[in-house]
Symmetry: C2
Subunit: 339 residues, 2 copies
């Protein structure tokens, strides 16, 4: 039997733990109704208990290579501690990784959920056949991961891949990071709701206004539903979303020239509403993307693009994630094997 | 005696050839008044003659490891051929690298001048003490190079580092690449002259207007001279230049989180006119830069920045290039050794 590792996804709703063999087979997945809100010691206790159950179960089949734990927040990779985060009171300045390593007697990797999702898609999802890719996780913000040669690229401080804070509108909406016009202010679930509220306030979105006042769970999903039913105001929101995502992707393709960009996160289910505009912007704005897609009739029209159209042999692939909410869990299980 | 390599810089004004030992000592530099405009066969002939003179001279001291040749244009790394370029008629669809390899009987590396300059600054200039850096060469456009682990990062098609075409103004000035609002439309020598012309046309730049009509060599340098003499219109141009460069750098720091960003190229001599605005934008716009510079009083003022201020231990360094116009030559000599 092959060796195996453990992946943990500390989501806001559930705590999920999976055992996975080194050849990528899911052995068992445990989903606990434990929320991060239950507090640090409780969550760590339940997590370690579940991991012990799995290692007892599969310990006879091969070596236990360690555990990867995906958490929502910024990690100090050197110390394995979490940084201060509004969502995780009590976790900062606590040796999370070392404490779990001590309890498990095995190597533990702590990383943020966006990186784990990127690693999951690379090894088991959309990126299986490429070694160099980036992943954008569209959720309340935009999470980012860069994978080079099959491994996460961290940068100097572990902060590489902050795609959500690339400037797409220099005088745009203020962001919590201090910048104006960050991509995630226009291309995230939070942004969809904000843009809907602005449309409602303008008095020019009667259907959105009706939905917002009648639906107690008015959300990005409700706005998407209106868009696919043909409401112009809702459609404009997803077009703006796609436009900004296209600008962001054009920047990333021009800077990184990676084989693949995988788009995941909850909002990716609105793909049909935002993707056409996203691709239109990308073709218009990225000479590297245009060069990589010589079959694209849009690229042929432009002088500069035509000059370099035969330059690149491979096409930059922009595609949807395949693993949904499991990406981070699978990536966490992979990290002890691949990193 | 140590082994050695040859670097060649095919500039518009001169053809320069250097022999360098593997320990980084310049053995000899030859500058020929040969211009690229003299045509492919003539340039290649003169280049190979000069290389033969150097290998005859230093062949007794150590092994000849090969030659690196920096050229202005886009290279197909696999075939070692140049792509079509307006500035180099007759060079495309010709096996440049293979032909020179054949004549020299040694390994030849062909790469674009921006990559060579980045490699030069990494090994012998501003980046000597870092392994991960990017270089921005501000000239007629913006050239870019990404260096990871001491080696050039090429991306899928050799086009990684197209920093000049990052969008900084989504509805901005049209670029030859097909995009609007590319960084190099605002932060290059060409852009300085264009912005000056716009200021003159607006009728609100009397000094610029006077200089443009009296100086037959009116250029970015003339505009800089007016700026340092206190002309407000000229100063505004460099402030806009710095603002855009700050937006671009903020994007790059957020995406790549590299240790160092080196700014070179002819326009870098106007550093005092654009750098203050550049740093102001960078601090305001990049959470990664702000996190990396906890001693910065600006970072302390912001909630989000304060949260992560103790996260990064090292400071992102943004600095001027040190090698001037020799960067590409030294980088070309290094490439047979390091790549």
């Amino acid at each position: 039997m092959p060796d195996y590792s453990i992946g943990v996804d500390m989501g806001g709703t559930n705590l999920r733990i999976a055992a996975m063999s080194t050849d990528g087979q899911l052995l068992e997945k445990i989903t606990l109704g434990v929320k991060i809100a239950m507090g640090r010691d409780y969550v760590i206790g339940e997590m370690c208990d579940a991991i012990h159950r799995l290692t007892a179960q599969y310990g006879g089949t091969g070596r236990f290579l360690g555990a990867g734990i995906g958490v929502p927040g910024i990690i100090d990779l050197e110390t394995g501690m979490m940084k201060k985060s509004a969502n995780l009171p009590g976790w900062s300045d606590y040796p999370v990784r070392d404490e779990i390593e001590r309890r498990l007697g095995a190597k533990v990797f702590l990383d943020n959920d966006a990186n784990m999702a990127g690693l999951g898609e690379k090894w088991f999802g959309a990126g299986r056949d490429v070694d160099n890719m980036a992943m954008l996780t569209l959720g309340t913000g935009i999470g980012g991961a860069i994978i080079l040669g099959g491994k996460l690229f961290y940068g100097m401080s572990g902060m590489a891949g902050e795609f959500g804070h690339v400037t797409v509108e220099p005088n745009g909406v203020l962001c919590g990071c201090g910048n104006r016009g960050c991509a995630e202010r226009y291309a995230s679930a939070t942004a969809i709701v904000r843009m809907a509220q602005e449309a409602i306030d303008s008095g020019e979105a009667p259907e959105l206004s009706k939905a917002a006042s009648s639906d107690p769970e008015f959300s990005a999903k409700s706005i998407y539903n209106l868009a696919i039913q043909g409401d112009a105001a809702a459609q404009r929101i997803f077009e703006r979303f796609g436009e900004v995502l296209g600008i962001l992707l054009a920047d990333l393709v021009n800077v990184l020239d990676l084989e693949m960009f995988v788009i995941g996160g909850g909002v990716v289910s609105a793909w049909d509403a935002f993707a056409p505009k996203m691709f239109a912007e990308l073709r218009e704005r990225s000479l590297v993307y245009a060069a990589s897609a010589p079959e694209d009739p849009m690229a042929k029209k432009k002088g500069a693009s035509a000059q370099i159209a035969n330059y690149a042999r491979k096409k930059t692939i922009i595609t949807q994630a395949l693993l949904g909410s499991d990406a981070g869990l699978y990536g966490a299980a992979r990290i002890p094997v691949s990193q």
